[in-house]
Subunit: 263 residues, 3 copies
Amino acid sequence: MLELRLVQGSLLKKVVEAVRDVVHNANLYCSSSGFSLQFIDSSHVALVSILLRPEGFEHYRCDRNISMGINLNNMSKILRCAGNDDIITVRAEDGTACLNLMFESPTQDKISDFEMNLMDIKSEHLEIKEKYNAIVKMPSADFYRICRDLSSIGDIVTISVTKEGLKFSSTTGDIGAASRQNNVVDKPEEATVIKMDEPVSSKFALRYLKSFTKATPLSNTVTISLSKKLPIEVEYKIAEIGYVRFYLAPKIEDEVDDTEPKD
Amino acid sequence: MLELRLVQGSLLKKVVEAVRDVVHNANLYCSSSGFSLQFIDSSHVALVSILLRPEGFEHYRCDRNISMGINLNNMSKILRCAGNDDIITVRAEDGTACLNLMFESPTQDKISDFEMNLMDIKSEHLEIKEKYNAIVKMPSADFYRICRDLSSIGDIVTISVTKEGLKFSSTTGDIGAASRQNNVVDKPEEATVIKMDEPVSSKFALRYLKSFTKATPLSNTVTISLSKKLPIEVEYKIAEIGYVRFYLAPKIEDEVDDTEPKD
Amino acid sequence: MLELRLVQGSLLKKVVEAVRDVVHNANLYCSSSGFSLQFIDSSHVALVSILLRPEGFEHYRCDRNISMGINLNNMSKILRCAGNDDIITVRAEDGTACLNLMFESPTQDKISDFEMNLMDIKSEHLEIKEKYNAIVKMPSADFYRICRDLSSIGDIVTISVTKEGLKFSSTTGDIGAASRQNNVVDKPEEATVIKMDEPVSSKFALRYLKSFTKATPLSNTVTISLSKKLPIEVEYKIAEIGYVRFYLAPKIEDEVDDTEPKD
């Protein structure tokens, strides 16, 4: 038996909206340590990892570990039926073929019940190393703008971190070249903060980074972690409850590009 | 000679927008008792009935009964040219082939004149029985949300009225099942109010109900009337002036569905 | 060497957005008297003329006259990457194949650099006579609405100026006829002001006029100048800095229409 009650139900809406461009079908794992989802895209280029800890729920009961295959588009359709102030209860019996979602309006005069069919999904688990050469914390809205702006001009971005600041640059044959420099300044809020042991510079596919920024409504800041030749980690913290993390493998120079997502 | 002057011209805009998804060409009837329109869709599943009473107009002159065939899309295009504060005057000579619409800005510095070509439309008149087993009054915005939400999940809704409340439920093979319960609570405003002599439960095509909710801007409340095996009536009152009413035949169990509107 | 620094960078964004529906590729001319662009569309029906005077720039250096072929869609893509409060610096070396654009945030913590490839464009220069029979000054938002409204109903508008006011009228076979009269009233602001030596009435293609109204964000007022059988001039002033002017040849009665822009 699984029963979770989330007072701030809009959080679950935001989490699903944040990842459903990257993840379509995935297994949701529940255990006594939390509600999690890990998904590797078919090209093994991008990975999404979500965690919601039990402390974030008003009520969290999970009698035994359970894995449920869900279609995130269907889950999104159902969650859009929840009002922004609704309390969401998620329920599943042991061995069930469907997940129950209940939305209660704060005044209890409106109650919506949904049964979502579950699926059988094969998945693999990937160990993620968390040792990075450079960690950048910046406003999530600024990261969103940079990804949106540069992807209107080019396909690949080079992200470079030095002690002085953070630089995003892109070159295209068609329009010209673009670069954006965020300097480290002495402002407590809204600033770009850098921790590093050595400078890093890596290239990434902009379309993936842009799709990660769908998580912007989850947090005012985003943490970007980089190491040479290793995947970038883009983390959006979800209040005190957990996180959504995206990983993307770097583009290796002169590599033939067959891993780009298609429109 | 017909001459009507409507100070709150935006009302006419809202009425035309409310029905033009369901009605394309229809006859407008004017008599000394008001300005009305009745339309039955070609599949005989849905019916629209509009009434604007003479009391709603600053000036209402209708020398003899007149029937005018209009294209509601053309009328909508013309009415969109009226400012929201404009005074609208509708004029037609006896035996004319066009309807005159004049929009005056409140300060009289801007005047727009339109001549709309009329059409010859055959129409039938249907008597509507107005004896219902259950009458539900609820916020129109809430009814809009329920129709929008459920139609993203299923095609058919079962509407059930009991003394305890109102329930909308829908089942689909694909996603799962959905239901929404509105409980009767003791709040004077924004509440769902039910008057009934016996419980009713009927099935309806969601796409029609959803198109009826285009009338939501006309009124804060909607009145839904139900009887066993009879069409549902969905009424939006227009201030003190009149109403827009929609009627939809119920889905009979095991019936082959050939009456669905196509996209 | 060319170097221009524009503190109110959003102005350059608005100018490019104002004209890029009408102009696709054009030569930008810089000299000591300003930054200008003149473009005649391929059908010789419409003409765009832009001027930004040196006084509008914080810094204006132009060592020698320079002509640069630009693609306005690429320039628009780049300018959309500028924040609304950004300071824009435009730079070009003599004999260069690209134009540099730099955007600085007001607090200098974010700097974006772009290199835009230049093109080779053949262009012709047209002398514009500026003697008009009637000059109308009206709110630009009102002119925008009239063009939008009438173009939803017809293709051609007749603009008539008399001492009493300004009239826009359009006739179509399909819907009917439409006209809009702006009367001269005694209000200092928001009014239609007319200066004329004789009444004028000319016909124009609405689709061009509608595309000119993309310049509406540049100014609260628009000045429309008319002479018999001569092109209309539609001018949007850019603060104290300059202007965007559009010219459109009138439709001559019974002329076969082969100059309409295609969608």
